[in-house]
Point group: C2
Amino acid sequence: MGVKRIAILGSTGSIGVSALDVVAAHPDRFRVVALAAGTQVRRVIEQARRFRPEVVAMGDEASARAVRRELAGEPVEILSGADGVERVGGWESADLILSAMVGAVGLRPTLAALRAGKDVALANKECLVISGALFMDAARRSGSRIIPVDSEHSAIFQALYNGQRAALTLRPDEGDLHPQIRLILTASGGPFRGWGRERLAGVTPEQALAHPNWNMGRKITIDSATCMNKGLEVIEAHHLFGVPAARIAVVVHPESIVHSLVAYPDGSMLAQMGMPDMRTPIAVALAWPERISAPVAALDLPALGTLTFAGPPDAEAFPCLPLAYRALQQGGTAPTVLNGANEVAVEAFLDHRIGFLDIPRLIQATLEQTAPGGMNTVEELLEADRWARVCARDWIGRHGSGSRA
Amino acid sequence: MGVKRIAILGSTGSIGVSALDVVAAHPDRFRVVALAAGTQVRRVIEQARRFRPEVVAMGDEASARAVRRELAGEPVEILSGADGVERVGGWESADLILSAMVGAVGLRPTLAALRAGKDVALANKECLVISGALFMDAARRSGSRIIPVDSEHSAIFQALYNGQRAALTLRPDEGDLHPQIRLILTASGGPFRGWGRERLAGVTPEQALAHPNWNMGRKITIDSATCMNKGLEVIEAHHLFGVPAARIAVVVHPESIVHSLVAYPDGSMLAQMGMPDMRTPIAVALAWPERISAPVAALDLPALGTLTFAGPPDAEAFPCLPLAYRALQQGGTAPTVLNGANEVAVEAFLDHRIGFLDIPRLIQATLEQTAPGGMNTVEELLEADRWARVCARDWIGRHGSGSRA
């Protein structure tokens, strides 16, 4: 292949930094043409000096000014604010946009990439959780391919489309594949796997922040402890692969080695495995449909010895997963509301304002107050998100501040 | 897709019968146009009445006469002998030939299929073990696709080429894939997994015929006990996928659920899993690149609970596997000689004429007597095969008859 020109939305975050590691190891294959970041001025300047992009966008004008000062005289354009970041998303000379900003701030620039017909390596969860239908529709219209970076979705993507350039333009419900595939997402089960409600009621943020397999941020670590992370992944998988919720299952797999599976009606299952290291799915997404080396330890199955599997998390102890299925079945903006309420709930839990089991209670109450709306524009979605947060904060005002059961 | 027209070489054997089961469940997708069998007259007549092929070929003239008598007046051509079976292999109206005859008798009709540019679902092991280079060369010249039916190779094939029409015309060493893939064949380890040489020396044919996972014939059951089956599979995988022996590993996996794996340089492994039931790889091969339903129980990972893996079989206790690697590295007709010597050895072991550990001894002695020859024609290969058998029988004459250590 020729050199692939890459734009990175969120270059200073964990995914962005890992992606630049992978890119740096393959100067013959990749060229970084655009970077976007929030406010980490020092790190962006280093990255710009090293990778010499055509453009850098910073989340605010103060950061942009600092970068501009430092890089004065260098042949790089410095943009700022949401508009600047959005321009990086649709940056003309880029072949592939890595969407790795965290949160709703990633929506617009990623949509810009899809509308410009760029391929998107998607690490931002909100694009699919908040606005899956809108995003997939934009990709189909422009012919963009979305290559997931999340390890579970990367696993399914690899199992379905290994080596295929067409990838997601061939959707299971429209294309060549048999409509009766099932997706099986694996879940570590989190640190409280097997716990009952009584024990979970007393869980503290400190306990929940000790997750066994992946090195993750605080929000996603709590999502892993409540199993909401798996619920959000079910929603994402539904949109990415066009498979209805009824044919997406969750299986507990504590070792986090089998990252997910696809089951075919002929009795065959295809699985992707690997060490839990994000540089693998990043390298897969950047090089797709080819393969490149990545600085990741090879999986040694004999050394590992055993892989174990168990049924899905107990619905009574971990209601966040059934809540996500319910929101997906409600459709419209219900997953948007689920996500907004969950973010507020996790923040309140981390601040000791609500208990562990209040997280699903708050989400359920918020979903019940909401009639699922349409999702035709990013504005509608952000409005639903805002409304969910208002409802959720209101619930905390009424129930929160240390209530524990 | 339209209706796929199928010819079956070996319709009365275990693979042939299972394939007709799968075909019968999908009358809208498949039509059987040609059958070839050895001498099982009754079964062929039933099959011909049910599937109404254009032609039936029987291995000998007496069987053909019996079939002809029974099917007189029906619109079916009855052929006989090696030439008749070879005509079925290249049968003009067929889209796909299932090569499921056991042994060297499958070589000529399968080669006829490849030379006629037909796609071949390959269940015959000898085509690749005895004559891999010749067969792959014929496939490349004509553009035939070879879709393996053996569960391990089907697993690797699915992992590499899932959903791709091009399949084996894209070879790892020539095409799109990174040259640094590694193949990992799983092995049940056989009934004597973990045994040492002392204990193995006393193994009887009766003990060896009790294999845990698959319902197989006697010859292949012994091959599984000596681990020669895995050695033959390494040779087959080398030819099918164009991967050198040094990048093909064997891992013991007693449950026989993960049928094999492909490892990529980015740390990703793709595996195919399923219940040990040949109807899955048969359905995969017949429908390729689409997927169909097959009457096979879906794999239930939580019910299964655990998958275990261990290093390759101990080379000292199971020398057949290193012998196969050695033959592959010697090249030319060395694998042909290995295979011929093994067949003679297994037969002698089943007849109580040699001991269990004499099997690798005999093979090694035969390989050491042989200079690897060229493999340009089927005749050269069959000559090497005959010569190996002569040497092997000679060895038994000198060492056999109940020698046990």
